[in-house]
């Protein structure tokens, strides 16, 4: 009980500190979907002075996966000789005509996994099938997938394939800033992506854009502290990358995880929903692991697909509009009947606004 009280006191004192630091408007982007959810759930917005605006960014891996990539996974799932594995978040994301959960209802073998290591076990247990892992995620998740690929190769498993929709965060931030459409005072940078990559990959923010960022943890107190650090930087005229989430993030990241990731994957140009093609922002298997690359092993060319009519997820992901500004929000598009991915994923801003009420 006493610890809870002391947490409440800490929250109150950081909120007070923030109030003292605000001077005019202040706009920060929380890049990561996990931040978005934590901000909504904890009611942080209601604690903040009115002039502070938090904008959700493109850090929901499911939301930025283009429809054409969902379609490719659905096409693979429909094959009789394929077992398709993926993380639960992707199941309900609508492709152009179907989703993975619809494919499963129609009899396809689609399974949800919680760890990339499961893929190796399942491939071992299904020697007569081609087991395809539809992999979505950012730097947080990619090293774990790389480790599983390495394990599969080491143990001579020949029937595991990876359909990679893995993406990297820093190139997306560069595109957001280059567009010049956002007037941001700073970024709350994603804590768990940064556990892996550290602080250096963000150094272009201050260097090239005079922008600032604080690598922030996910508890309400972390987020408030991150904001207070951003405000301090702004007030003191500094533009730097700082680490608030010190209990988990080291400046150099996790070198071992980076090494494993680099051993297996190579950066390639990738499409982002709402942001278009961004150079070196995706991860593909290196040549040495080419036989495990589902894009090579199967005939599944990428087909460009139009966004669902009326869905403004693209603008939501760039922080250009709030979900309630989409005419379909809450009317035709709800978490039960999502039109776009920002409403499907629990980390999507449309879903968060819908669930927790779209205040400021």
């Amino acid at each position: 009980m006493s610890e809870i009280q002391s947490d409440e006191r800490r929250v109150a004192s950081v909120v007070e500190e923030i109030a003292g630091l605000v001077d005019g408007g202040f706009q920060a982007m929380e890049v990561c979907g996990t931040h978005t959810v934590s901000i909504f759930r904890s009611g942080i917005r209601s604690l903040l002075p009115e002039h502070i605006e938090l904008i959700s960014g493109p850090g929901c891996p499911v939301c930025v996966t283009p429809i054409g990539e969902i379609d490719r996974a659905v096409r693979l799932a429909h094959r009789q000789d394929v077992v398709l594995l993926t993380f639960g978040d992707l199941m309900r994301v609508p492709g152009s005509t179907s989703s993975l959960s619809m494919a499963r209802a129609e009899g396809s073998d689609v399974r949800v996994i919680t760890s990339p290591l499961d893929t190796v076990e399942i491939a071992r247990g299904e020697p007569g099938k081609k087991v395809v892992f539809f992999a979505v995620g950012f730097e947080t998740t990619s090293p774990a997938i790389a480790a599983a690929v390495r394990e599969a190769q080491k143990s001579g498993i020949g029937n595991l394939f990876v359909l990679s929709s893995l993406r990297l965060i820093p190139p997306a931030l560069r595109v957001l800033l280059s567009s010049g459409k956002l007037a941001l005072d700073g970024f709350l940078l994603p804590g768990h992506v940064s556990v892996i990559i550290g602080a250096e990959p963000y150094s272009f923010l201050p260097r090239e854009f005079s922008s600032r960022g604080v690598i922030t943890g996910f508890e309400p107190l972390d987020i408030l502290e991150g904001l207070s650090m951003l405000l301090r930087q702004r007030n003191e005229g500094r533009a730097e990358i700082e680490i608030q989430y010190r209990r988990a993030v080291r400046a150099e990241g996790n070198p071992r995880a980076l090494r494993v990731m680099d051993e297996i994957f190579i950066p390639v140009d990738a499409r982002w929903r709402g942001l278009g093609i961004i150079s070196d922002s995706g991860l593909a298997l290196r040549k040495e692991f080419g036989e495990m690359d589902a894009a090579e092993a199967f005939d599944i060319p990428y087909e460009e697909v139009e966004e669902p009519p009326g869905c403004r997820c693209g603008e939501v992901l760039q922080g250009l509009i709030r979900p309630p500004e989409c005419p379909l929000f809450g009317v035709r598009c709800t978490p039960m009947h999502p039109v776009g991915p920002c409403m499907v994923s629990s980390e999507g801003s449309c879903a968060a606004f819908h669930r927790y009420g779209g205040m400021r």
Binding site: F87, S115, P116, L117, H192, E219, R256
Partner: protein, 74 residues
């Protein structure tokens, strides 16, 4: 999707650790974070330890987790 949960290493066998998450034990891979010992706190994501945590701060985080869970459940 980038959720990481702190837990305490109870036992280590090769590349695998048994990790205690507030009373629930799970098997966790140490392939990405090999330099850990029994008793250490680690941050776990999709079945992999991805970083060792400072013990005092890990405990604080766990307390915050529980507190947040209580308030979400309401």
């Amino acid at each position: 999707m980038c959720l990481g949960i702190p837990g305490k290493i109870v036992a280590i066998t090769g590349d695998l650790a048994e990790v205690d998450f507030s009373g629930v034990a799970r098997e966790v891979s140490l392939l990405l974070c090999p330099e850990v010992h029994e008793g250490d706190y680690v941050l776990v994501h999709v079945g992999f330890a991805i970083q060792r945590l400072d013990e005092r701060e890990a405990l604080e985080t766990l307390e915050l987790f529980r507190e947040m869970e209580r308030s979400w459940d309401e």
